[in-house]
Symmetry: C2
Subunit: 330 residues, 2 copies
């Protein structure tokens, strides 16, 4: 079987040399494990942080070892009676064709033609949007919400949940005119702008002349500074990601206006979705029906072939995806 | 009578030209008002913001009009039966020798030889420390707390409340060796450092090698950045003040490490004490006895004479005070 390993730690942007594709023996499942043939894997911005050798909330990837990440696959051998051969499971050992997975760390999902949803809108990605908007930013009906990276996997779901939960106004930023159209025409955002068209601060002020109540931050930097400027009294920020900084080799210079948080009594709160898994049932109960009846749309950008996973990951960091970025292995 | 007026809006640091002392007719109390002879007035860092002509949580001071701020005085004439002549009241019309005050906006306090406490440790200043530490930063027993501006009126109370509430370790920063000694020797801080002695980040790391759980921010800037670096998982920041920036004419540099708030799941929350007045009874019930029995100490820096109030205010911004900065009018 084949797997993608970390060949070198990137200094700034990852490149082809960051990765190597290698042959490895297909693993044998031990007691309590299942052998999974991976069908689709996820690439996510947080993986960039694990490529650096720094202490963080997840340990760094090891040089020469296969990368890890969410994947969905079919059980082809089982040493765990509760997860039989033929079951479909979501687990954490992507970036390889076969994985021996502890049954306790595999979540069985219904066999269906939309298996990829369990990596995106109905998986950790969707849960991130749900928890960030509702639990962290404490969004309430009637409020105005700004989402950055709004055409991405998390942002597109966050904005749509806000709309379906009765937001007064939902505003998104994205990195191309096509994405901006997608947000407004297909996802029902009230306004959207291309952050490459001009200062975020000015564009946000034009899109939200009365200010915003909630900011769902996937970007950091000047997006966060603009949002702090536009937030109204008692505004809240869910700090979910800071993709603007992930590949920078110098420290970001924004937000320079954090002092406004005092007088406006703002709350900025960071979060990691893995500490909020207990909300998965609530999330699926509320968002699942919206996905099934089409009121919440989840586009995917699918790249074919494990060998193209590094390019998919680099493309994700460059914003080449709309919605969830996935790699199909077979 | 005499009053201090705003003569010119400062550009950067206020100077003697910012103020003018003027004669004015002693006001007549209207129905429901009392005439107060001010005895002591407060100068506070937040007043610097009101000197700029910008929208904020309190309206700006008006050019040519007397400044405002907390004061304590004696009622010398009353058109409000509930506040008789001879009562002592705390109110918001300082910077002048006599004020006509709506009785509804005057708080009667017991006549005592420590009237000044109602402007400081037992007034809004102490309440700010109490609310910021307990309600905003949600300090809990056994945690490590860092307070910047720790020898100031708010910081010194915040640090002592943390100690009396069972902090594992209380660390303070201040701007002179004398203040550092005061924090450790008299106020019971476990460690303190002079921020002028070297990078805050390094000094904080040495004082709190295992990190901090709560940061009470009176300073902003590099103090906030250092605290974000030292905060442990689930740490909280009470954003109370940003005195490092109040007199700067360019935007402060960011905390360049705010992205750490994601992985550490930090919460940063700004607050204004005037929205938390409902906590005054709890505050007085808990902190009052500590002040009376000497377990919580509140030093004051008292300047004599209304004519010296501008110098007292500028000195406050320069850190010339230890504890509460007050001006005695008679």
């Amino acid at each position: 079987m084949r797997e993608i390993r970390l060949a070198a730690r990137p200094n700034g942007w990852p490149t082809a040399e960051t990765f190597e594709i290698a042959e490895a023996p297909t693993p044998e499942p031990g007691p309590g494990q299942v052998l999974v043939r991976n069908l689709v894997m996820s690439v996510d911005p947080y993986m960039r942080g694990r490529m650096d050798d720094v202490k963080s909330y997840v340990p760094p990837f090891q040089l020469g070892a296969p990368l890890e990440g969410a994947a969905v696959g079919e059980v082809v051998a089982s040493e765990a009676p509760e997860v039989p051969v033929g079951a479909y499971v979501v687990h954490g050992l992507g970036w390889r064709e076969y994985a021996a997975v502890d049954a306790a760390r595999a979540r069985v999902v219904p066999a269906a033609d939309n298996l990829t949803a369990y990596l995106g809108v109905l998986g950790m990605t969707g849960l991130t949007a749900y928890v960030g908007l509702l639990d962290i930013a404490r969004f309430a009906e009637g409020e105005t919400v700004f989402v950055s990276g709004a055409a991405g996997a998390v942002g597109s779901v966050a904005g749509q949940i806000a709309r379906l939960r009765g937001a007064k106004r939902v505003i998104g930023s994205a990195g191309s005119a096509d994405k901006v159209r997608h947000l407004v025409d297909e996802l029902g955002f009230d306004a959207a702008f291309n952050y490459k068209d001009g200062p975020v601060r000015r564009q946000l002020r034009e899109a939200a002349p009365d200010g915003i109540d909630v900011y769902f931050d996937n970007v950091g930097g000047d997006h966060l500074e603009a949002a702090i400027g536009s937030l109204r009294k008692y505004g809240r920020v869910a700090l979910c990601g800071a993709i603007a900084a992930y590949n920078e080799t110098s420290a970001p210079s924004a937000p320079r206006n954090l002092g406004l948080a005092i007088g406006k009594e703002l709350t900025l709160r960071g979060f990691i979705v893995s500490n909020h898994n207990r909300r998965m049932p609530d999330f699926l109960a509320e968002v699942g029906p919206w996905v099934r009846d089409g009121r919440l749309k989840a586009r995917e950008t699918v790249v074919e072939g494990l060998e193209n996973a590094p390019a998919a990951f680099i493309g994700l960091l460059r914003g080449e995806n709309t919605g969830k970025m996935l790699v199909r292995l077979r």
